[in-house]
Amino acid sequence: MDLSHLQVITDTNQWGALLPEILLGVGAVLLLVLELFMPKRKVCIFRLAIALQFFGSWAFGVYYRRAACRISELDFC
């Protein structure tokens, strides 16, 4: 079975480019697990979710800073 075709397709997979989305998805599952262990700390979980989204935007910024540096060698790199 030749998997080289698949290899070509997956070569362009840059998971880092979708870091904020991945953070949100994984974070949603982690918060669900957290809720199982702390069923009464609902407000806390809600606040964690808000923090997670801030973290998602931070991750977005960090990744793009690196990507922008790689592409254009901007001053702030």
Binding site: Q14, A28, F46, S57, F76
Partner: protein, 443 residues
């Protein structure tokens, strides 16, 4: 973050994941916008659940997944990814709209949204299938092996000779119209706005805000991505259709909102009118007024900020049922709670387009673009819409500022005092409305 995006080269684009994901400056902006909107929705939900007793964290799990799907949706460069992301969003919303499941109105809204959403998905899917069938037909010039890819579909649509180009193929035209109809549903553009009043009213307030801002904005982003990407060759065909849709959306949204007394219905129908104004700007862009595109994104930010301000205030009203909140429930709000009252007035003022608030600047810029594009009829309808919108927005503002309660003090809806965190959130939103209005060059 905005600085980082602004620092990117103008023509930046990155095709990844076997060219199914396309990252550009627009998609970056859209992702930041949707993520920020999601943070505001989460906070709104926390306030909402606290005021009504009992925080339900399931909400935030679903909301995070929906936001991630929204963010992938605006980067899609392939119809399969677009459809999967759109359906992930839709399924999340089916749950969120009916989230307060002991409330009959919320359940009813959920079922209505489910049926209408399934209808729009069917339209979209049917359109995609027609495009796939036409573009992969080896009998046609420029047939492609992967017609679901936006670049290849664009190449197919521009192929052909003067006698018969693929862009004139009835199958293709039907497919394109159906795809855009499916997306117009999300955006709330005429004639796919009919679900909005009932669903907005029945859904919990944070979900209504989520629908009003993120769903509408992502619909608009998709519109833009498709019309400047795979459907670019069809702009001449689509222009008159979009012009009619813009006029009808403006007229319907504003006239229907005039007759409403329920605040969520007012917000829903005025949102339809705002979608119409976005379409006016978009039509000007299609006519070659390029500078209007950043203004459209500015308009979306302004609309989101003002909407979240109003929804935050609505979230503090301790009515028995969320969907029964009427304009008269806000009577004398300014005196009862000065901070919430003034926030409501500024938020509504910005939505109405009152100077010097940000909404005024955004609307004026779009209207200038319409003049430059010589869209005089559409501009006249838009101006009429602004006049009508002042009537219903001012009616609400008048209730909050001048009106005394009709009944005894006991029958008034009590107001939940905003926490320090909420005050901070609201202060940021109000500052954004004022600063962007007074100094739009910041954008």
């Amino acid at each position: 973050m905005v600085y980082i995006i602004a620092g990117r080269p103008a023509g930046f684009q990155s095709l990844i994941f076997a060219e199914t994901v396309r990252q550009t400056l627009l998609s970056d902006f859209a992702r930041v916008f949707l993520l920020t909107a999601s943070i505001l929705v989460s906070h709104l939900a926390l306030v909402f659940f606290r005021v009504r007793g009992g925080v339900k964290v399931e909400f935030v799990h679903i909301q995070l997944v929906v936001t991630a799907a929204f963010m992938i949706l605006v980067q899609s460069h392939n119809f399969i990814l677009l459809f999967v992301a759109l359906e992930t969003v839709a399924i999340g919303f089916y749950i969120l709209v009916a989230f307060t499941r002991k409330n009959v109105a919320s359940l009813e809204a959920g079922i209505k949204y489910l049926v209408m959403g399934a209808f729009s998905s069917a339209l979209l899917l049917f359109g995609i299938v027609l495009l796939f069938g036409a573009a992969s037909n080896p009998m046609l010039v420029g047939a492609t092996g992967n017609p679901l890819d936006f670049s290849q579909l664009n190449a197919f649509l521009t192929a052909g000779d003067e006698l018969f180009s693929n862009a004139q193929n009835p199958l293709v035209l039907t497919g394109v119209v159906l795809v855009l109809a499916g997306i117009a549903f999300k955006m709330g553009a005429f004639p796919f706005q009919f679900w909005i009043p009932d669903v907005y009213q029945g859904a919990p307030s944070p979900v209504t805000a989520f629908l009003a801002v993120s769903s509408k904005a992502s619909g608009f982003f998709l519109f833009y991505i498709l019309l400047t990407g795979p459907f670019m060759a069809l702009q001449a065909f689509l222009y008159p259709i979009l012009a009619v849709v813009a006029i009808a959306t403006l007229l319907f949204g504003n006239t229907a909102a005039l007759a409403q007394s329920n605040v969520k219905r007012v917000m829903g129908l005025s949102g339809v009118a705002h979608a119409g104004i976005l379409l006016v700007g978009f039509l000007a862009a299609l006519r070659g007024v390029d500078w209007v595109l950043p203004v459209l994104f500015f308009y979306m930010i302004v609309y989101a900020v003002a909407s979240f301000t109003v929804f935050q205030v609505m979230g503090h009203m301790q009515s028995e049922s969320d969907e029964q909140l009427e304009i008269e429930d806000f009577n004398n709000l300014l005196e009862r709670n000065t901070f919430l009252g003034s926030s409501l007035v500024i938020g509504l003022g910005s939505l109405a387009g009152i100077p010097p608030l940000a909404g005024f600047v955004a609307k004026v810029l779009i209207f200038i673009a319409a003049v430059q594009a010589e869209l005089y009829v559409i501009l006249a309808v838009a101006l009429l819409g602004v006049v009508l919108s002042i009537y219903y927005y001012f009616g609400w503002m008048r209730a909050a500022v001048f009106k005394r309660p009709i009944f005894d003090q006991e029958t008034e809806i009590s107001i939940h005092a905003p926490s320090l965190g909420t005050k901070l959130f609201l202060a940021v939103l109000l500052a954004a409305t004022l600063v962007l209005g007074l100094y739009p060059a910041l954008w």
